[in-house]
């Protein structure tokens, strides 16, 4: 059996097809791995967003506790030595004339 010699044209076309297939395959693999990589990244960021949201909630709750009327009252009395004003100590800005 005599082996047929390939022409340059056939070699170029064949080589081109193989290169195209390899390029497609490479792109596909790159695309898949990139999707997975981005999946990891999105997941990480989503977790971070959740964590930050929870952190905000926690800080808001802490703020509410720090601004509780009971705490403010206690601090005003103990740290600033404030007392309740007596009725006659209250100064009115606008009152009907005597």
């Amino acid at each position: 059996m005599v082996r047929k010699k390939l022409t340059w044209k056939q070699v170029v076309i064949g080589g081109g097809v193989i290169i195209m297939l390899l390029a497609d395959l490479t792109f596909y693999i790159w695309y898949q791995s990139e999707s997975v990589r981005l999946g990891y990244r999105i997941h990480e960021l989503e977790l971070k967003v959740e964590q930050l949201k929870e952190e905000i909630k926690k800080l808001e709750t802490r703020k509410a506790a720090l601004l509780s009327p009971e705490r403010i009252d206690r601090m005003a009395r103990e740290n600033l030595n404030l007392t309740d004003p007596k009725p006659e100590q209250i100064i009115f800005e606008n009152l009907v004339e005597k």
């Binding site: 059996m1 997975v36 999946g39 990891y40 997941h43 989503e46 929870e54 909630k57 926690k58 808001e60 709750t61 802490r62 509410a64 506790a65 601004l67 509780s68 009327p69 009971e70 009252d73 309740d84 009725p87 006659e88 100590q89 209250i90 100064i91 009115f92 800005e93 606008n94 009152l95 009907v96 005597k98």
Partner: protein, 593 residues
């Protein structure tokens, strides 16, 4: 022509080539068989295993709705927390498992009883034992780092009440599974809890998550806005606590209502509890304002006065001889707290004469008295959006005895403090029976609501004519505070309307009313001409010399109203006896300088 087949590898023995080809063929056959086994025969089983390993369908817990006050202050919120549990590892000996638990003792502050319970669970070879639930995430992180075999963590939510005991009876509390157990947490549990969701998590060969898909969206619980104002609530709670402690009372309650809307601005009870440590003791748990019924005593006379004017047409110019100090009827004797003289109709109520009230009630008649109490809502729940409200007792007319006329002075009837408050609120609104409520659709500070609702009471049923209301408020209820039993409720510069109550308690042991045990109360509204607040104060069994409502409850009412009106920037409409004007003060400071 016979073409001789040539070897494609000249010089390589054909036998060897055949052998290699046969080997490759066999090897390929083996692979084929294995592939058929994997892809066809064991396909179902292996697919399940793969899904199990690479995909997780997890439940996503909904976040319970927040609870805010009317100004948007956070009263309750759920935050993530972790729960620790134990699940035995087969190869671990029992001693090591117990040792692992002891390692958590200090981190989790486990008490001896808790430890005993956990260890007994392990010894019984239980597959699952809770160690501690709802711990802070920082503590969970510390446990995670230790990598103790058999110790696992799961994420849950924990309910926080940042203002501690404030408004505890309104808020109620939740159990360890985040289900509402009392207060609005229970009443609005369906709205607050939300709906569970589902997420599909894809993992790679190293069990690392790389894709998450929401299968079912989680519905977070709805937020709830209460009608209370945290500052007014605090003022009420503080004054109440002081009074209950000073008088050594059993319990006390204060409820403040915005008259026209029925919105509760404060509901305070003492003893109270911290909802962060739910459940409290049974005694602390009682919401006295709606769950304690008592014979209201003289505060019930606000209904008798209405019946006299509205149904019986008794003139305010009639006079009643109360000089004897007691009256006997239907086999029972009713006494006044002191001997009085001949009193006019308004004076009977201003000085809270029981004798005069019974004489007036006798003129009104049982039927009309009963009718008016029923119209005022006694013996029925007010319909407030809180669980466990008591309806009180108003016996039907056919079960009245001869002595039942005492209903007119607040005996043989049982009411909750809220019912008394609603009755007085009829006068504050010009004759309307308003339904109290503790929630509103959106936040709105009190000051914003006041102008909008002052004249908007027509949606409620009118039960008294404006004439009767005006007349009784002017001639009776403001005078109670100006010169009657409620003098202690007077606030310089403001007109206050109210009624005192001192009810003797029935002693079941003696089977008689006790002279030593009273329920002291005061119910009223302020300012009398354009009410912004209606309030009831009830103190149970004050100890000591002061026992009357005018001595025990009226000062509490005064202090709360004074502070709340200042907080709401409501200056007096008439000049106080002692006062400072800013302009005078400034002039004085200039002169001094």
């Amino acid at each position: 022509m016979i073409v001789q087949e040539k070897s494609f590898l000249p010089g390589f023995p054909r036998k060897k080539i055949k052998f290699i080809l046969l080997f490759i063929l066999l090897w390929m056959c083996l692979i084929l068989v294995r592939l058929i086994d994997l892809q066809v025969i064991e396909h179902k089983k292996l697919k399940t295993e793969v899904i199990e390993q690479s995909q997780d369908l997890i439940k996503v817990l909904p976040t319970r709705g927040n609870i805010y006050d009317r100004n948007g202050k956070i009263l309750a919120r759920s935050l993530p927390a972790a729960s620790v549990f134990f699940s035995p590892v087969k190869e671990e000996p029992l001693e090591t498992q117990v040792k692992n638990i002891y390692q958590l003792k200090s981190i989790l502050n486990l008490g001896e009883n808790e430890l005993k319970k956990i260890i007994s669970g392990i010894e019984k070879r239980k597959r699952f034992t809770w160690i501690k639930r709802k711990i802070p995430l920082e503590v969970a992180e510390e446990i995670k780092k230790r990598k103790l075999p058999g110790i696992y963590l799961i994420e849950e939510n924990r309910r926080y009440y940042p203002l501690g005991t404030l408004a505890c009876h309104l808020l109620g509390g939740v159990n360890v599974d985040d289900a509402g157990m009392a207060g609005v947490e229970y009443y609005y549990n369906n709205e607050l809890r939300g709906e569970e969701g589902q997420k599909l998590i894809m993992r790679d060969a190293r069990r690392k998550e790389f894709f998450i898909q929401t299968v079912k969206e989680t519905k977070p619980g709805k937020d709830l806005y209460l009608t209370i104002d945290a500052t007014i609530q605090y003022i009420a709670e503080k004054e109440l606590q002081q009074a209950v402690e000073n008088f050594g009372a059993n319990w006390g309650t204060v409820v403040i209502l915005q008259p026209q809307t029925g919105e509760i601005l404060a509901l305070a009870n003492y003893p109270n509890y911290d909802p962060n440590e739910f459940p409290p003791t049974e005694e602390q748990m009682v919401n006295c304002a709606i769950q304690h019924t008592y014979e209201p005593g003289s505060t019930a006379k606000i209904v008798t006065a209405a019946a006299a004017r509205e149904l019986a047409g008794i003139s305010p110019n009639t006079y009643y001889d109360c000089s004897q100090g007691y009256i006997t009827f239907g086999g029972t004797t009713v006494r006044d707290h002191e001997r009085m003289k001949i009193l006019s109709f308004p004076e009977v109520f201003i000085h809270s004469s029981n004798v005069g009230s019974i004489k007036i009630a006798d003129l009104i008649g049982e039927e009309k008295i009963y009718q008016m109490f029923k119209t005022f809502g006694f013996g029925q729940k007010t319909g407030i959006d809180l669980p466990g409200e008591e309806s009180g007792i108003l016996h039907p007319l056919n079960k009245w005895r001869k002595s039942s006329l005492r209903v007119a002075i607040g005996y043989e009837i049982a009411a909750t403090p809220l019912q008394i408050l609603r009755a007085m609120n009829v006068y504050a609104t010009g004759g309307y029976l308003v339904q109290p409520k503790v929630t509103r659709p959106q936040p709105a500070p009190v000051a914003e609501v006041i102008p909008a609702v002052l004249n908007d009471v027509s949606r409620w049923p009118r039960i008294l004519s404006p004439k009767t209301v005006r007349e009784l408020v002017e001639t009776v209820f403001t005078q109670v505070v100006e010169k009657g039993t409620g003098l202690e409720a007077k606030i310089d510069g403001y007109d206050i309307a109210g009624k005192t109550g001192t009810a003797q308690k029935f002693d079941p042991a003696l089977k008689a009313y006790s002279y030593a045990k009273h329920v002291a109360s005061f119910v009223g509204f302020a300012p009398a001409d354009q009410p912004l607040l209606t309030m009831v104060v009830v103190i149970d069994e004050p100890k000591g010399i002061k026992q009357y409502g005018g001595q025990v409850a009226a000062p509490v009412f005064r202090e709360i109203v004074r502070k709340v009106l200042l907080y709401l920037h409501q200056p007096p409409k008439k000049l106080p006896e002692k006062y400072w004007l800013a302009q005078d003060k400034r002039k004085q400071e200039v002169i001094t300088d």
